[in-house]
C-alpha cells in the first residue's frame, strides 16, 4: 500500500507533458497586438540567393531575392549595384573588359564639343562585343585617340 501511494506521488511530481494544443504562453498566444510569432523573426541581413544584396534591399530594388541574377545577364544583382548598372535590365551590366563605371553616368548634360564644353555621349562597339558609352566614365579623365588601319 505504501509503495503504491509513493508511486502515484512520484508521477505527480515528475515532468508533465504539455496538454494537447501546447502551453498557454503569453508570447505566442493570439492577441490583437503584433507578436513575434505573428510577424516572424526576420534576419535583416538575410540574403536568400547569396548575391550580395539582402532580401530587404532586393525588395527596395524590385529584384528577385530568390534569384542571384534577376535579369539573367550573367551578372549577379549585387555586382550590378556595385558597378552602377541596373540589375533589372539585361542590356545594362558591367563591362566584360572590366572598365569601371561612374555613378554619375546618367547625370551629364552635353553642351558642345568646344574646349570647356561637355561633349555628348556615344555608344560604340568594343573589342569584347559590349557597347561602350563615353559618359560611363564620367568620374575620370578620358583620352580619346582616333586611329585607323592602313
Amino acid at each position: 500500500m505504501r509503495s503504491a501511494v509513493f508511486g502515484v506521488f512520484a508521477l505527480a511530481l515528475g515532468g508533465c507533458s504539455p496538454p494537447p494544443g501546447g502551453v498557454d504562453d503569453p508570447v505566442t498566444q493570439d492577441s490583437d497586438t503584433a507578436t513575434a510569432t505573428d510577424t516572424g523573426s526576420v534576419d535583416p541581413n538575410l540574403d536568400s540567393d547569396g548575391d550580395g544584396l539582402t532580401d530587404a534591399e532586393e525588395a527596395t530594388l524590385g529584384t528577385d531575392p530568390q534569384v542571384a541574377d534577376t535579369d539573367l545577364d550573367g551578372w549577379d544583382d549585387g555586382d550590378e549595384v556595385d558597378g552602377h548598372t541596373d540589375p533589372n535590365s539585361a542590356t545594362d551590366h558591367p563591362y566584360t573588359g572590366g572598365w569601371a563605371m561612374g555613378a554619375c553616368r546618367d547625370d551629364l548634360v552635353a553642351s558642345g564639343n568646344g574646349v570647356g564644353q561637355v561633349t555628348a555621349d556615344f555608344a560604340l562597339l568594343d573589342q569584347h562585343g559590349d557597347t561602350v558609352r563615353l559618359h560611363d566614365f564620367c568620374d575620370r579623365e578620358v583620352l580619346l585617340v582616333g586611329a585607323a588601319f592602313w
Binding site: 573588359g97 570647356g116 561633349t119 561602350v132 568620374d139 579623365e141 582616333g146 585607323a148
Partner: protein
Amino acid sequence: MITLLAQTNSQQTPTQADLQLWADTYSLNHPVVADPNFGVTGRFIDGNTIALPSMTLLSAGAQVVSRDSWVTGSQVAANLPN
C-alpha cells in the same frame, strides 16, 4: 583612354574581331571601339582633314580640355580628378 578605330584597310567599319586584333597587336587593356565614318573623332576636328592619330582630352565630366592637337603628359596630369 579610349581608342576610336574608324576603319579597316579596306575602309570598312571595324568588326569586333578587328577591334580585338588592334587591342592584341598593341597590348591594349582599355576600350577599343569602332567609330564608323569618324563620327566621334570628327567632332573635335576643325576643317575637313583628320590627322591620325588624333587626340582629344576630356576631364572628368566629359568636358573638353584639348582637341585636335597633341596631348602632353602635363596636360593629362593637370586634369586628373581629385
